[in-house]
Assembly symmetry: C2
Amino acid sequence: MKKYSDMSKEELLTLKAQLDKEYADIKAKGLALDMSRGKPSADQLDLSMGLMNVLSSDSDLKCETGVDCRNYGVIDGIPEAKRLLGEMSEVDPDHIIIYGNSSLNVMFDSIARSMTQGVMGNTPWCKLDKVKFLCPVPGYDRHFKITEFFGIEMINVPMTPQGPDMDMVEKLVSEDASIKGIWCVPKYSNPQGYTYSAETVERFAHLKPAAPDFRIYWDNAYSIHHLYDDNQDFLVEILEACAKAGNPDLVYKFTSTSKVSFPGSGIAAVAASKANLEDFRSYMQIQTIGHDKLNQLRHVKFFKNIDGLHEHMRKHAAILRPKFEMVLNTLDRELGGLGIGEWTKPHGGYFISFDSMEGCAKAIVAKAKEAGVVLTGAGATYPYGKDPKDSNIRIAPSFPTPEDLGKAAEVFVLCVKLTSVEKLLATVR
Amino acid sequence: MKKYSDMSKEELLTLKAQLDKEYADIKAKGLALDMSRGKPSADQLDLSMGLMNVLSSDSDLKCETGVDCRNYGVIDGIPEAKRLLGEMSEVDPDHIIIYGNSSLNVMFDSIARSMTQGVMGNTPWCKLDKVKFLCPVPGYDRHFKITEFFGIEMINVPMTPQGPDMDMVEKLVSEDASIKGIWCVPKYSNPQGYTYSAETVERFAHLKPAAPDFRIYWDNAYSIHHLYDDNQDFLVEILEACAKAGNPDLVYKFTSTSKVSFPGSGIAAVAASKANLEDFRSYMQIQTIGHDKLNQLRHVKFFKNIDGLHEHMRKHAAILRPKFEMVLNTLDRELGGLGIGEWTKPHGGYFISFDSMEGCAKAIVAKAKEAGVVLTGAGATYPYGKDPKDSNIRIAPSFPTPEDLGKAAEVFVLCVKLTSVEKLLATVR
């Protein structure tokens, strides 16, 4: 393979003519494919259909403390659900609150609470002139949208395969008391699939923030979402690390079963120090009379314990793995050695992160759309939708059928090639 | 019956001696009864057990627009759920958003949104020096707790059998731009069971608030919760009334199935003008990826339509009616003509409101507790828990078994008598 950047103008023009023809042929097919969304496929959802039968009109719907789960009561979760999501979070059930169907909602509410009530007695953020958050980039667009919505200034922190640039995090957090938090997806990160190293977690646990109300928003969305049985990432448990470092209140840890059972019909949890949980409870006691305990019971009866969860996730992996491998093989085969893109090879999670040549991502996404393939919008992985290099694209292989995914991947690599040639031609003489 | 206030000191002392003995006898029984909570009884919950079987692992879990309810998507509710709760709310489905398991949560979030984002482009309340809410009293403690939590100043407005004192509401709302809302339970109100008259609704619809971001919080919690088939209250539909009055954006209307199906495992809705709904959506689009659509589907398949809901509510009524009648008969028989208390006789809802002689409510509740009967805390029906006359007590007949309820009602009337005698003795010479 010859690198595109080593090609002469004539070679590039010849290549472009050939790619233009391929692109025209593919456009003529009138495809309508979607590789944009981190959604499970129908096959994956079928794995959890047993949840629909686990409670019936004959069931005893009391939780283990005898409370009737059909009625009001038990604001912070039934004990067996705390145990299940505690195991999933590697945290003692005493440090768990069970919420409704969405951990994103809990994160949003945590920011909302900090705005109007303040964190553990500190000044409400809405009374401050300036509030800032650190955002490892590329990252999860829905996180960034929350902080943007509340007018919180976001500061980009580069990601590495070991996690965020911790020199930068430590410096900023210790110097600037207006920095109140950092968004983290520490395992199989969105979109790169990176897992924070043990050293990174330790450095997080030992942070010395200038702001007493600084919190790490640790969104452990993919904690058990492995693709391989024999090639898994391991993440040091942060709550214990923080406690050992003398910083027990430093972190909020979020999790949910959204991509374990049914997105939107799962259960969510937060794990934190008891002092932090009191803060959460002070809000939820006013906000609601309680979350859906029947759905908590449904999940406990279906999954039983952490072994049940792991067994279930292996079935997800069996469906997801070939899809990831198909996309990765296509990228390797079609783009390897061309010098026009780099991509991650995650061991779990929902995404592959692709970096094109600078200034090409928007054009690639637009070209793919023109050919009938929807990708996550370029820039979405950055705060305010602004990727300074215009190079990152998030690939989500989970939702399409394998057949559709194969077609979509072919369109994608073609669009990368064509855009890259056009970019190079615009600069060579 | 001789009125207590007409009794001589000697008569009162004789009576007290007799009541003291009865009280000692009842205390000796070691009762443990609860008449405090507006919770359905286990019998009532049994009525909805069919909900547990309505979806199964063989079910088609698509909504009528073909969306897979197991996956992400459809942020504001599946169409059939909008139709069902639209019928329940007497509002077109286009004016409905379906939420999660709790309408209280939606009200809380509406206040939270107004605090940080403002209402339809107006200044966020957290940026204002003073924000006030009108609170018809007695009213629902959980409403008052929300406004208290956000530091909103609450102003008492007296309730009448036709609704809040509208002269006062009109005057305050038109004169004071810091008044941003009013809490209403317009039908079978909590705790009195009053239903706002047609004139009251019309006057609400024609309010001319000084604040452009004033909203009526219309918590229609008991819209279909009748006790009698042939003696029902009717409430004029407020959304249409507001639109006709040229005030389409004046009201947020809330409802839920919490006391229709399962408390905590039902579905909630808000009905409002399209401009208001856009405001709600702007928040929820950032807050969550969507609510539990499977539970929406479950409710639609079980209740089908408004006729199914009404039929179901008749079964609730058959259980609740004898309980209300037992308490009311006991009050009539034991307290009628004594001049030591007044009470409401609602046609629906969950509560009976009792007004003791001034300065007696706390003592009655304390005495009942000493005898093993938990009542709603005195003062709970007023903002800040402060009943200026110390006279209102909310009676909740729904949860205990008929047998327990009978005992609890006997304890209650005895405590009212004893407290009243003591109060009178403290003032007579």
